[in-house]
Amino acid sequence: MAPLGYLDPGSGSMLLQIILGGVAAIGVTMKMGWRRLLRTLRLRRDDDDAS
């Protein structure tokens, strides 16, 4: 993707903005899927799906 700007927004900071989106984040979370969200946030490992 094209660079966002002159600042590195920080990957953790970008991900946190989903959580801070409150009610508006529900749609995003659903679209992502709960497992995929946790994986994206790296709060769950890829191989957890196998269990």
């Binding site: 993707m1 927004p9 990957s11 953790g12 946190l16 989106g21 508006a24 709060l43």
Partner: protein
């Protein structure tokens, strides 16, 4: 940068290199100009038609801006540049609220701020002004607020540090121009307090687990339909959070000093008159301003009122803000350790003395604090005042003065044996021509009006 003949006479602002899209330069006669890249020019064209932007320009929340030619803007000059490490808590909080308020309005019209730094806020007296017009850009769908992390590091965590721990954030901000890292904030802040769990603890955890995945994460957010409503919700939360933060402070030595000080009211009035009669100035500095009584008395277009006590400056700011003052800028500065040059090559954030010279300096009820309290020799102090090349109103308090006695009592007797009016006047006379001298009624304090030799 374009190299048209006109721009050859421009000098670059040393602090304006981080965002190459919209650089600040100065014209030969000192005008503040902004050169826009083709991309920034497109953003500017859209921005100049936006309602929120026009309103903020009209009511002064955004710095006065006009387009001189395509891709070249001219800005209003703020009276005196200051930095977040010179602001008391209340000023940092108001600067944060200004920034968030503008961001909220911008989002409604599909614009966003590309950063989140207090260095984009300056002051007309006690009125905050957002100065970086180049920070606004058109919102691109699917993208988060790139300045959120910076906002946390330079606004939110420093404010939380004082609100939740009672630790003054100015030395931290002066120590690091980038602010406080999420991992540091996590170690410093109590997790049970409002906003800490999300903006600090979770922030640090996500950061630690997702290092160097910026591109990947952005693609994922975009694919999942990240939209501006999420940013709006975050900005609303931040506004609510920041508004509720209250400073926690320890006891202060000089708050209420005027009441406690052994001044005769008559002396204070004579001092005020003396200051008023010192003549007109464009820019006056009031060193050791305390409650700002003499900043108000001085006949100057603009006043920079400095004091080393954060609480005293905060109280002065609150009063001035309540009055809607745009003449007096209150700053926290310890004169025995004033703001140095910081950042790249030490010129990105300039020394206090390099940001506009005063033509009148008030130095009232201060000499004994520096000379005795901080062991600063008269020659050093007077030498520094002389280097400002300004008229000087200075007060000297004798050894018999109760405040001087109090300060002397804390030191070994020999350390300040030479403290006295004769030695002071000799040091002053070497560097300044004394035009007027007035003894106050108590007989223990003397005022001098002096011009540099």
């Amino acid at each position: 940068m374009t190299t048209t003949p006109a721009s050859a006479h421009r000098s670059a602002e040393p602090a304006s290199f981080r965002d190459p899209e919209a650089r600040v330069v100065y014209s030969a006669d000192g005008e503040v100009l902004r050169e826009l890249s083709p991309r920034a020019r497109e953003d500017w064209e859209a921005l100049s038609g936006a309602t929120f932007f026009r309103r903020a320009l009209e009511d002064g929340r955004i710095v006065g801006t006009e387009e001189l030619s395509p891709g070249l803007l001219r800005h209003e000059r703020v009276p005196f540049v200051s930095y977040p490490y010179e602001w008391p808590f209340e000023m940092l909080r108001d600067a944060a609220l200004l920034q968030l308020g503008l961001l909220e309005k911008a989002l409604a019209e599909d614009f966003i701020l590309k950063d989140g730094t207090p260095y984009n806020v300056q002051w007309r007296g006690a009125e905050p002004v957002f100065v970086d017009v180049g920070s606004f850009e058109r919102l691109r769908s699917g993208e988060p607020w790139a300045g959120y992390r910076q906002f946390c590091m330079l606004f939110l965590y420093p404010l939380m540090l004082q609100a939740y721990r009672g630790i003054a954030p100015q030395p931290w901000l002066r120590g690091s121009l980038e602010g406080i890292e999420p991992s540091e904030a996590r170690a410093l802040l109590p997790r049970r307090r409002r906003g800490v769990l999300t903006h600090v603890v979770l922030h640090d955890r996500l950061e630690a687990k997702n290092a160097d995945r910026s591109g990947e994460v952005r693609a994922e957010l975009k694919a999942s339909g990240f939209r501006k409503e999420l940013i709006e919700a975050n900005v609303k939360r931040l506004l609510k959070l920041v508004r509720r933060l209250q400073p926690k402070r320890g006891r202060s030595t000089w708050a209420g000093y005027r009441e406690a000080a052994p001044y005769e009211p008559e002396d204070a009035e004579r001092k005020e008159r003396f200051v008023r009669e010192a003549g007109r100035a464009d820019l006056a500095w009031d060193l050791g301003c305390n409650d700002g009584r003499f900043s108000r008395a001085v006949d100057a277009e603009h006043v920079v009122a400095v004091d080393g006590e954060e609480r005293v400056v905060a109280e002065l700011y609150d009063t001035l803000r309540g009055e809607g003052s745009n003449r007096i800028l209150p700053l926290v500065v310890d004169l025995a350790d004033a703001s140095p040059g910081r950042g790249w090559r030490g010129v990105e954030r300039r020394r206090l003395e390099e940001r506009g010279r005063p033509d009148l300096v008030l130095c009232l009820a201060l000499v004994h604090h520096l000379a005795i309290g901080r062991n600063l020799p008269f020659e050093e102090l007077i030498g520094w005042l002389r280097s400002l090349e300004a008229r000087l109103v200075i007060e000297f308090a004798d050894r018999d003065d109760p405040m001087v006695k109090r300060l002397l009592a804390a030191k070994r007797a020999e350390t300040h044996e030479s403290y006295g009016r004769d030695t002071f006047e000799r040091a002053l006379g070497e560097r300044f021509e004394v035009e007027r001298r007035e003894e106050l009624g108590s007989g223990m304090r003397t005022l001098y009006l002096a011009t540099p030799r």
